[in-house]
Symmetry: C2
Subunit: 261 residues, 2 copies
């Protein structure tokens, strides 16, 4: 099965991303995990700590993709409204979950379980808990929606506990070739190559490093042989155009830089 | 006028973010610039290099916010489809813009202006060009939609050229207090403070640093006096709870850490 069969979206809930205070580090980490499991990340949305914004995004995304993962807004403070908003999206009430309360009692001790912490035991009715190996308070799952913490270490701990159980396709593989040509030089040949290999996604990414414009060509496919054939053709194209492939990364392995110029 | 009056969304177009290969550095930079100009960033979406995904997102976001800024997909290669997709969103054809062609001729020289580079002169009919002081090829504007490059340095050069001309409200100001309390300890008092100051947005952000859980409290408002009053109250709350404010940042200035414990 192609990875396109299994799709996902991420909904990042939090004013701290929209204010520019925090760089979103969760998307790249989740994207890689999903790719390893043959699930294609198709969309990311960032919304503020606002009921209507969360409810609308949850309902749009859970209907459009196989999986929706949300991050943020499940802590104990007034701006943590994710559980209530997810409940609203599913038209169910929020209820204290006895198992979640037990987890919090065990983690904090009964005497330290204040009202604010107890808020983290309240989940939408019908939710299944997601284990939090880092800081106690669980995430939860409603149908195809996985509700995770926003702090990267906690989110990662939660996701690693359930991702092996998600149904996915063949893992997405990728090769990257870095070269010293301009995008405009390779554009025509790369377009023709994309037409020849419709099942390989070919991307072209210029970048500045130390004031010099370089170019990374990224090929992605689930079929390793097809991917490597297309990669060989890219190297031939670079060679024919008089360029040099300064680095070639084949499915995660940096191979000796090939002089093609 | 409140910053809430003037809103914006960012649409990030590019498989490289969704594949996890690239961390989005553009959102925090743009968010800060918008805040300085009294424009509230309300939503970010990331979509792949796919016509339908871009068209749907552009039409949803341009209708919902004062401004929409897009990044990525305006280069010379086959995966650069932003101009065509924006044209489709506005139901207009793509046309070669004589001024854009002239810019490219001047930048590359007429003899080096190959077919791929010339693609960067094609913009939706009715678009106004956005100057690119870094690498020639212009961005463009259609109504309230600003179409920018994805490479951060180029995007920044484009945005700095026009952002002073955008109509915004009072700049959003922010104070940050870092302390050694748990979220659950401050949650109740912070919730009451938020109720007392509806025009100050109060956010609470736990983080791990060197294995120790710390807490940043971020207050945001357009009124400096109101903001600083609320900040004083936060410091009083931390004090009353036996905590220490290890760092206090008042509107961009790190003031001497106050011992409040």
């Amino acid at each position: 099965m192609s990875a396109e069969t299994y799709t996902a979206a991420i909904l990042i809930i939090g004013d701290e991303i929209l204010s520019g205070r925090t760089v979103d580090q969760n998307t790249p980490w989740i994207a890689e995990k999903l790719a390893e499991h043959g699930i294609k990340l198709r969309e990311v949305r960032v919304v503020s700590d606002d009921y209507a914004a969360i409810v609308n995004a949850v309902n749009a995304l859970r209907a459009s993709y196989t999986y929706l993962l949300t991050t943020g807004g499940i802590g104990p403070t007034h701006d943590d409204i994710t559980a209530a908003a997810i409940a609203q999206a599913f038209s169910v009430p929020v209820k204290e979950d006895p198992a979640a309360r037990k987890i919090l009692e065990d983690y904090y001790g009964t005497s330290d379980l204040n009202e604010a912490r107890l808020k983290m035991a309240a989940v939408p009715e019908g939710a299944a808990l997601i284990n939090n190996p880092v800081s106690g308070a669980p995430g939860f799952k409603m149908e195809n929606v996985y509700v995770l913490a926003g702090v990267p270490r906690i989110m990662q701990g939660m996701l690693e506990g359930f991702i092996d159980g998600l149904i996915g396709g063949d893992p997405m593989l990728s090769n990257t070739i870095t070269c010293d040509l301009y995008e405009s030089q390779v554009a025509k040949d790369l377009g023709a190559l994309q037409d020849k290999y419709p099942d390989v996604s070919i991307g072209s990414y210029p970048q500045y490093r130390g004031g010099i414009l370089g170019l990374s060509l990224v090929l992605r496919a689930t079929d390793a042989a097809l991917l490597d054939n297309a990669t060989d053709e890219v190297i031939t194209i670079i060679d024919a155009l008089g360029g040099t492939a300064s680095a070639v990364n084949i499915r995660g392995n940096e191979i000796k830089a090939r002089e093609t110029g």
